[in-house]
């Protein structure tokens, strides 16, 4: 089992979600987050006062998938989240030890 954490542009979220649904992925956890990588922030000016806003809104998706689905899911995210501009985000992959469904205490991949 692998966990995919993808931090993407909020504007790309809908198409990423659709692309994942298309390859048969049914579950995901989505969080609205703030942050920046190399993109840095922007300045806002209110009546002559300048404010630098360096934490920008992003969307974070978390999915835990059986190994054979991971590559297809990563491809789908890459294709649908890319705008080609700085600030498109990142994908992190990590191994997951165990998964437990709370309702019936199923364990392992069948719990996903």
């Amino acid at each position: 089992m692998m966990k995919i954490e993808a931090i993407i542009q909020p504007s790309r979220f809908e198409s990423v979600k659709d692309a994942l649904l298309e390859i048969g992925i049914e579950g995901m956890t989505v969080t609205e987050v703030r942050g920046h990588g190399r993109q840095k922030g922007h300045t806002e000016v209110y009546r002559g006062r300048e404010y630098t806003v360096d934490l920008l809104p992003k969307v974070k998706l978390e999915l835990v998938l059986p190994d054979q689905l991971v590559n297809r899911a990563v491809d789908a995210i890459l294709k649908s989240a890319k705008t080609g501009k700085i600030g498109d985000g990142k994908i992190f992959l990590s191994r997951v030890e165990e998964a437990i469904r709370i309702r019936n205490e199923e364990r392992g991949e069948s719990a996903l």
Binding site: V45, Y46, R47, G48, R49, Y51, T52
Partner: protein, 480 residues
């Protein structure tokens, strides 16, 4: 023969000219119909006299009801400027944790000033004929009923005049809360505003608008200052007091290092648009009748606001390379402020010029001037109202025209463009008195409040936000 023809033609022309002239002189006809006149000319039957008297009364009643309708609407429009206009405008400009506190300050004034107005306020502003302040003759609204007060507005019930003027007394102190925002105690605000209304607003309103007032232009003032709808009375006094408050209170904790952007320009935007609409009641209503002067003031008001929005945006575009929404609405408000004293004295072209100048000037005041001196006028009450009111009052002296409003008598020059340049000097006297009274009065009142209820919240309260700490509420419980 030929000369005879010319003479005949001339006589005929004269007769023809005289006919409609005679027909256009109803006052002569009316005076003939008065009872005393009919006594001396018994050939007019009694029934005709009675009929004419009846008609006279009907004409007066018709004019009164038209004027009264407009003035009641105007009064409501001016109240709408405070709530929701100003409350939304200011509410959006503060941080989220202080939105209720700033709105509550204006709303509290809607209640507080109304009660004070009934007790003594109206009488202190409009009672008697003193030079500097009214008297207690109309305290508790004694004698204020449906009959007009001919000194001020001969065609509307005095009750209408009274309630219309009350709405001005509400918004004026409310403007000051923009400078003290995000750090002044609610108790301190209530005490400050009570004293400020009695000691600064009432004398200034009486001096400019009250009978016998030192600066009154139409009722025998020493330095006749033109102030149609409150450039000095409302905007200079509140704006200068705002500056004094900002200096006395000190900066907000964290200013200017910590970012304090407006929490919702959508609220501010809505508020500014309501202010613009409400201002028609403020300025056009100041004609105190539904007449041509009201139309003139209405048009000048609208043109001033539009030109100022453009002026501010142009300045901003040159400076930052883009025009902002906050800039556009701030510019419109600055223009409305500047056109307030001028509205009933200037034509549409002068209104455009006054607005444009005010838009650029106020932009400079809130961006450059404020950062040069480093005071924390949180929502720019001084930069917009003090500065806009001052420049508007002075430009009124330049642009006022006798064709718009012959306030000094028929054909007598009014402002600089008429050739009466000394009016600019009179305006300067009015402005200086407003500055002086506001600065001195506010300083004394701040001292008194500081020693009694206290002025500033604790730093802890300020950091946590005034909504929770002063009112026990939050503006937005979006997750509940």
């Amino acid at each position: 023969m030929k000369r005879m023809g010319i003479v005949c033609c001339s006589v005929l022309t004269l007769v023809l000219l005289a006919l409609p002239l005679g027909a256009q002189q109803p006052p002569a006809a009316t005076s003939r119909a008065t009872p005393s006149a009919s006594a001396s000319s018994p050939e007019v039957p009694r029934a005709v006299t009675e009929k004419l008297n009846e008609l006279d009364q009907k004409v007066t009643a018709a004019q009164s009801s038209a004027d009264n309708a407009w003035m009641l609407v105007s009064a409501a429009l001016v109240l709408m400027m405070t709530g929701p206009g100003l409350t939304l405008f200011y509410g959006g400009l503060v941080r989220q944790k202080n939105v209720l506190a700033i709105m509550m300050q204006s709303f509290a004034l809607m209640a507080l000033i109304t009660v004070l107005w009934a007790l003594v306020g109206y009488s202190l502003c409009f009672g008697g004929d003193g030079h500097f302040i009214g008297n207690f003759q109309m305290a508790l609204l004694r004698g204020v009923g449906v009959n007009p007060n001919p000194d001020y507005a001969a065609t509307i019930p005095q009750l209408t005049f009274m309630v219309y003027q009350l709405m001005f007394a509400i918004i004026t102190p409310a403007l000051i809360t923009g400078a003290t925002a995000e750090r002044m105690k609610f108790s301190g605000t209530v005490l400050f505003m009570t004293l400020w209304f009695l000691l600064v607003y009432a004398p200034m309103a009486h001096m400019v608008w009250g009978k016998g007032g030192f600066l009154n232009a139409s009722l025998g003032g020493r330095f006749p200052t033109l102030d149609f709808a409150g450039g000095t009375v409302v905007h200079v006094t509140s704006g200068v007091s705002a500056l004094v408050c900002a200096l006395y209170l000190g900066k907000r904790t964290g200013y200017p290092k910590q970012p304090m952007p407006p929490h919702s320009l959508v609220l501010s935007f809505t508020g500014a648009c309501l202010l613009w609409v409400g201002w028609f009641g403020f300025n056009a209503g100041s004609a105190l009748a539904s007449n041509g002067l009201a139309s003139s003031a209405f048009v000048a008001t609208h043109f001033g606001a539009a030109a100022a929005a453009i002026g501010w945006c142009v300045a901003e575009w040159f400076k930052n390379g883009r025009a902002s929404a906050l800039g556009a609405i701030s510019g419109a408000v600055a223009g409305l402020v500047a056109i307030t004293p001028a509205a009933g004295f200037v034509g549409p072209r002068s209104a455009l010029a006054i607005g444009f100048i005010a838009g650029m000037f106020c932009y400079w005041m809130v961006t450059k001037f404020k950062s040069m001196f480093g005071y924390d006028d949180a929502l720019d009450a001084f930069g917009v109202h003090g500065a806009g009111g001052t420049i508007g009052a002075l430009l009124t002296g330049v642009c006022a025209r006798v064709v718009i409003n012959p306030i000094f008598g028929d054909g007598k020059a009014v402002g600089g463009l008429d050739g009466h340049w000394s009016q600019v000097g009179n305006q300067l006297v009015g402005v200086l008195i407003a500055w002086g009274l506001a600065a001195a009065g506010t300083t004394i009142i701040l001292k008194v409040v500081d020693l009694t209820t206290g002025l500033r919240v604790t730093e802890e309260q300020e950091v946590q936000g005034l909504d929770i700490t002063l009112h026990g509420e939050e503006g937005y419980n979006l997750e509940s």
